[in-house]
Amino acid sequence: MNNSISGPSKFTHGLGVLGLLLLLTGSVMGLTWAPPEQHMGEVSRIVFVHVPSAWNCLLIFTFACGFAVWSLWSGSRKADSYMVASIEVGIVLNGLLLVTGMLFARPTWGIWWDWDVRMTTSLISLIFFGGVLAMRALIDDPKQRATWSAVAAVIGYVDVPLIYFCVRWWRSLHQVQSTPDTMSPGIVLPMRINAFAILFLAIWFLSMRASIERNRLAAQDVDQPDRLLEGGTL
């Protein structure tokens, strides 16, 4: 058993810093250099935080599902630590996408909230994955915690593809996804920069959160050496 302290690698720390710098660049570009949209005016600048959060939220929940499957398959602690990290980071981005979405919806659509499919499914994922974290907090045995939260996460993931595709499958208030073809280049560029920025930041978040989880588990092993006999693999 490896009891050394776990932490992000130098490369990951670098990625985090790069993400931060990119986010500053993209946001400043978005707030000043990018043109206002022809009808939305200045308010369109909210896309530069809303859309990147949304993309990365869905991506990271997808990671969570992948890690959950890996965790079920192998029982590896690493998989479990990355799964809980992805769920937590996904929740943060999920919250951001909802709040920025509401701030975007009020001036453009005229409402803060409406129960269309996009908004409903996005709220479901937030509540559900929050529930998974709540469940984890109540389980003491690490192996049991890993398995059960992985099982819950896989089922809850059913909602995530719905968030992405619902606007294409069903009529909704939210418009369908934009593509570079439907946007001016001046709007596409800051959005891309911010998308990568939040992705890099999220990778640093994931790595940090997963390290915390592994450190805590290692500390628990020292506390209760009999657990080691059951064979927690790292």
Partner: protein, 232 residues
Amino acid sequence: MNIVRRVAATAILIAQKDLRLEWRNRARLFSVALFGLVVLLLLSLAFGPNSDDLQRAAPGSLVVALLFSSILSLSESFRLEREDSALEGLALVPIEPMGLFYGKFLANTLFLLLLAGILIPVTVVLFVVEADARVLLQLTGFWALAAVGLAAPGTLYAAMTSRLRSQDVLLPLLLFPLEVPALIALVKSFGFILTGDPMEQLVSWTKLLIAFDLIYVALCGVLFPFILDEGS
């Protein structure tokens, strides 16, 4: 194909066992149904006494009462197994884990159907809705579809949360978000059944419910063996 037969045999055995236990201890059905009735009573008082308001609130109230009492019944369903470590016992016997799940699931679904048999007529009375036998049957049929989609993740989560502290909070916290599509489909279709379906949408909602049922029933069956492995 052998495996399918073994899973089915296990499922039937477990469902029989559960239903027999249920029948011997009818107090459980009684108390869960009574809880549903209390919810209906509270909601009808909250929305009433104007009969127009009541009728408008009827579909939603029925769904809420059904969901609340379902949670009670689901969380009860693993209590017995936990109290005598019976689940661990079952896991030791060479039994098909998937069969164990589908047996529990079957028993829970039937129990939820029984619940509807009590709550639906009461709703019709308390919420002064006009309904003939055909409408009652349609309502029950829709609930049956939703009950399948509720019982599958419900059984799985109940198996997990029954062994945790504060399961009473966790089960609804995990289950209700999953059930939102089913809940919307139910409220809509109950509404259409009770007050008419001008746009002929009932079929689409049925398809949606069936799709969700298939997803949850299949997925939960695959995942259940994992929690059984993690037994004690």
